[in-house]
């Protein structure tokens, strides 16, 4: 920690701050190219139906309509994961949720395009919709939603066991079982999805509001049946993602196809209602957990079961399923662990990744479960959790490699600041504590290969520096991280570095803004490229008989360009190969894990069940804050989003229709709801992160939700084992308590699921606990 930095660690404004506050940043829907046509998409009004016929003839005759396409024009299937290529840009055989796209129109204005969609006649054979986990597990009344997976409407089943679970339970002095439910919710980015495509010189160019230009590039090439080199995807200025723009979407492919047909630019911006149906948000997850502990609270074994309501398509669902079981072991030392997961298809918008991808639900469950165990044993829950904290430089029983780990320090910070342990106990006032961990990037790529996950090129000429990287800044500040790293190494300020990012033609690859991977991976790639460039500059300056720190950057660059010709350097980052030796081990490994601890203080009204959050204390182990201002922003935004999920946000359906597909009805926290947040940045200097940095964008969301529920118990003596923790659930739990029943609101049981035979995995040998970084 004795390194001296000029840029790293300074709370500098984002490099694009001025354009964001002046209205100059160009978002996808702000683009209007000459002769642009506008696209609208006809979507299914039925949650489950066969398409008997589609008649577009009347729509095609409407003046101003330039093209109408259906599924027959885009028959190739796609999907974010190679194992679930189950979507079509336009469905022509069957629809699986209200909102499934069926036809698309390009017209001279949006109103004409919408009218033309209305003029398309679709004949449906309506099928019985499957709207719940239980219904999906049962034999379908009509037919299955998808023609793969199974039995019934099961999409994915997994059963893994690490270590001797039965032996662990036998050793336990105390065993407890609980059931939890986490309702689905959605990302609600302020910017609706939008994309505009051109077809010029035989090449498709797409500007889109996406988090993953690379995967959109792949999907476009596949479905449009063009070589990758005839497709270019550029990330427009981004109006918020949170995981909601991490899949390739139908509208992105549709505008590409319509541009190819019409020879004109075609733009499609989803309505807010369409965004709710596009979704890919938080899976509703039912969870069952059994844990054995010794009488002093040490975990001896854990068995965790999850059932995910996946919606109609695969999306990231296979990964989401594994994630509901993967990271329990990264915070608590669990010597024997069994995980059984199940994802089902239902006739709802597909679920996918939202901030924390598949891990906030089990984090809610495991944190509350341990609270209850501590309560049963009469041990202070903070103490019980602490006794089980993982240690730095260890391997978990499911082979996950833990390097830097600031759990202890994070806990200490929030304990001290909040006064949790010495809090005043009185009815109606409560504090809750929880911890969490998250990946700093997935250790394996979506398409398994040996290539880097992130690459950066640097060009220096006549004093100017440009860094090129495929990374997509979605508002979190990844451009600012790139600029900071390059500037630090070259002795400049971030504003001196020009950036070209998120353009599949001009930038080397970065896999995208998901799994909290950009700072770690693009940061490391930038570091390598910048150090190589610095070496060139230093060599040229020293050859001229001077020292690098005696000359200006301009002088150094002129000397180096004269000596070496064109000045370029490149760096890349490939995560270490640390996945365990078992099927399914690809989900969970990360080059580093962030850690968080949180205390929530609230008032709870036992008459109305209303909660008022007084204050949140949160400490986050980010490894090193490359820019503390941006880290704080990520932490505060995570707390906010966690509170929204804890208190009010839910994506639920009635007869296939979203109950509240508008920003008024889908409740999210406003300025009036947001409490004061005390943020503590903990720096553990990760051995492999750039300057020691880890992630900040997702992990801090996780502990907030269980901390709210724990605080409700502290205040009122009732458990709400279900998210969101709404007033009516609290009142119902209090009613049960007053009647002498279990003082609890939550699911009553867990269904029988036909899990496959358990794959038994030996825990990693002790010598894998690492002495040196990158040892496997």
């Amino acid at each position: 920690m004795n390194q001296k930095f000029n840029v790293i660690g300074k709370p500098l404004p984002k490099v694009d701050a001025a354009s964001r506050v002046t209205g100059q940043a160009v978002y996808a829907d702000d683009m209007l190219l000459p002769r642009t046509l506008h696209c609208r998409i006809l979507r299914s009004p039925h949650p489950h139906a066969r398409i008997v016929s589609i008649d577009t003839s009347a729509a095609k005759r409407i003046p101003g309509v330039q093209a109408v396409i259906t599924g027959a024009d885009l028959p190739v299937k796609f999907g974010i994961l190679p194992v679930t290529q189950d979507e079509r840009a336009l469905e022509h055989e069957k629809v699986r949720y209200v909102g499934d796209p069926i036809a698309a129109v390009a017209a001279t204005d949006e109103e004409i395009a919408a009218a033309a969609c209305d003029a398309i006649t679709v004949e449906y054979e309506v099928l019985e919709p499957v709207m719940s986990i239980d219904a999906a597990l049962a034999a379908p009344k009509d037919e299955r939603i998808q023609d793969y997976g199974g039995p019934n409407n099961i999409h994915k089943l997994v059963a893994l066991e690490f270590g001797d679970v039965d032996g662990g339970f036998a050793r336990a002095d105390f065993v407890r079982e609980d059931v939890f439910f986490f309702q689905g919710n959605t990302h609600l980015p302020m910017e609706q999805h939008s994309a505009i495509a051109t077809y010029v010189d035989g090449k498709v160019t797409l500007w889109s509001s996406t988090q993953v230009v690379h995967y959109v590039h792949r999907a476009l090439a596949k479905v449009l049946e063009l070589p990758m080199n005839r497709v270019r995807v550029i990330g427009a200025a981004h109006g918020g993602g949170f995981g909601g723009k991490t899949d390739p979407f139908a509208h992105e492919i549709i505008v590409g196809k319509l541009a190819m047909i019409t020879g004109r630019p075609v733009k499609c911006t989803l309505t807010r209602e369409e965004v709710f149906y596009a979704h890919r948000g938080r899976h509703p997850v039912l969870m069952w957990v059994r844990t054995g502990v010794t009488k002093d609270g040490r975990i001896t074994a854990m068995h965790f079961k999850s059932a995910l309501d996946g919606g109609a398509y695969g999306s990231y669902g296979v990964a989401s399923t594994f994630y509901t079981g993967a990271l329990q072991t990264v915070t608590y030392d669990i010597p024997a662990y069994r995980f059984e997961g199940c994802r089902v298809f239902t006739n709802k918008p597909p679920c996918g990744p939202k901030r924390g991808h598949g891990t906030p639900q089990p984090r809610f469950a495991i944190e509350l479960h341990l609270e209850k165990i501590a309560h049963d044993l009469g041990i202070e829950s903070v103490e019980l959790k602490r006794r089980n904290f993982v240690k730095p430089m260890t391997r978990t029983v499911n082979w996950l490699r833990v390097t830097s780990c600031g759990l202890e320090e994070c806990t200490e910070r929030v304990m001290t600041a909040s006064g949790y342990l010495t809090r005043e106990r009185r009815p109606g006032r409560g504090m809750g504590f929880a911890i969490s961990s998250y990946l700093s990037g997935a250790g394996t790529a979506i398409y398994w290969n040996d290539m880097p996950h992130s690459e950066v090129q640097i060009k220096v000429d006549r004093g100017g520096v440009t860094a090129y990287c495929g990374a997509m800044d979605i508002g979190q500040g990844s451009d600012s991280v790139l600029a900071a790293v390059v500037a630090e190494e070259l002795g400049l300020q971030p504003k001196d570095v020009r950036l070209v990012t998120a353009d599949t033609d001009t930038t080397p690859i970065d896999l995208g803004s998901y799994s909290s991977r950009v700072t770690f991976m693009a940061g490391n790639a930038a570091l390598e490229a910048a150090r190589k460039m610095r070496a060139l500059l230093v060599e040229a300056v020293e050859a001229s008989g001077r020292r690098f720190d005696e000359v200006t950057f301009e002088e150094a660059s002129v000397l180096a360009e004269a000596r070496f010709g064109t000045l370029t350097s490149a760096g890349s980052y490939t995560p270490p190969n640390i996945a365990g030796p078992y099927k399914g081990s690809g989900v969970g490994p990360s080059p580093a894990y962030s850690y968080s601890a949180c205390v929530v203080d609230l008032d709870a009204d036992r008459r109305t069940g209303l909660l008022h959050i007084n204050k949140v204390w949160i400490a986050h182990d980010v490894g090193r804050a490359i820019n503390p201002l941006l880290v704080e922003g990520q932490v505060e935004g995570s707390v906010y989003m966690g509170l929204g999920e804890a208190l009010m946000e839910e994506q639920t359906f009635r007869k296939g229709l979203h109950k509240w597909p508008s920003m008024l009805e889908y409740k999210s926290p406003t300025f009036l709801d947001m409490p004061e947040v005390a943020t503590f940045i903990v720096e553990t200097n990760d051995p492999e992160g750039p300057y020691g940095a880890k992630e900040a964008g997702q992990g801090p969301l996780l502990p907030v939700i269980p901390a709210v529920s724990a605080a409700v118990f502290d205040a009122l003596g009732v458990w709400v084992d279900e998210v969101p923790i709404t007033p009516e659930k609290i009142v119902e739990a209090l009613r049960r308590k007053d009647k002498g029943e279990m003082p609890r609101y939550g699911p009553q049981g867990f269904p029988d699921i036909p899990y496959p035979p358990t794959i038994k995995v030996e825990p990693p040998p002790k010598e894998l606990d690492r002495a040196a970084p990158a040892a496997i």
């Binding site: 964001r20 002046t22 209205g23 409407i62 609600l188 979605i474 920003m663 009036l672």
Partner: protein, 176 residues
């Protein structure tokens, strides 16, 4: 080629496409510039600003008056441009985000938002900046709860609002 009415699938659709669109010439005063435009009377101020005047700094989040993203100032007061028709604001002073800075000199609010990281994705920022400007013009020393109240109609999904509150307070201090 114009289709015959019988070809249309539905009568209401025919009305939608064939209805005569009333257009009016309106003079709008936006950011101190007066522009005369021939506009369909049903087009919202939001659409006219973005599509007819290329003032794309004004964003849209719902187009139903729910999120505050499209906030502009009408005679200095925050209004939702998605719920206004241009004919309602003819002759009145309209300020959009493009009118907040003086040339390339940022307004103190913009400066504070940039310095404190109050804009992450920046999509809600234009509306929040303009609502904040209106607040500070009537209340140069707002308490935090007054800022919350003034901005309660503007949603932001990135920041958790904290840095926005701090930025408004910083700008208010600098402007006094």
């Amino acid at each position: 080629m114009r289709a015959s009415p019988a070809d249309y699938a539905r009568l209401d659709l025919r009305r939608e496409v064939e209805r005569p669109v009333d257009r009016q010439v309106l003079a709008l005063d936006v950011n101190g510039e007066r522009r005369e435009l021939l506009l369909p009377v049903h087009k919202t101020l939001l659409e006219v600003l973005r599509e007819d005047m290329q003032l794309t700094g004004t964003k849209h989040g719902c187009e139903l008056g729910e999120c505050g993203t499209c906030t502009v100032l009408i005679d200095g007061k925050p209004e939702l441009s998605c719920l206004l028709l241009p004919i309602q604001v003819e002759g009145r002073a309209i300020t959009t985000i493009e009118g907040l800075a003086s040339g390339s000199q940022l307004h103190p609010l913009q400066q504070a938002f940039a310095e404190l990281g109050a804009a992450q994705c920046g999509y809600c920022s234009p509306g929040i900046l303009l609502a904040s400007k209106s607040l500070l013009e009537t209340n140069s020393r707002p308490a935090r709860h007054e800022i919350r109240e003034a901005l309660a109609g503007n949603l932001c999904r990135c920041t958790g609002y904290t840095k926005i509150l701090e930025a408004v307070e910083l700008a208010a201090g600098r402007m006094r």
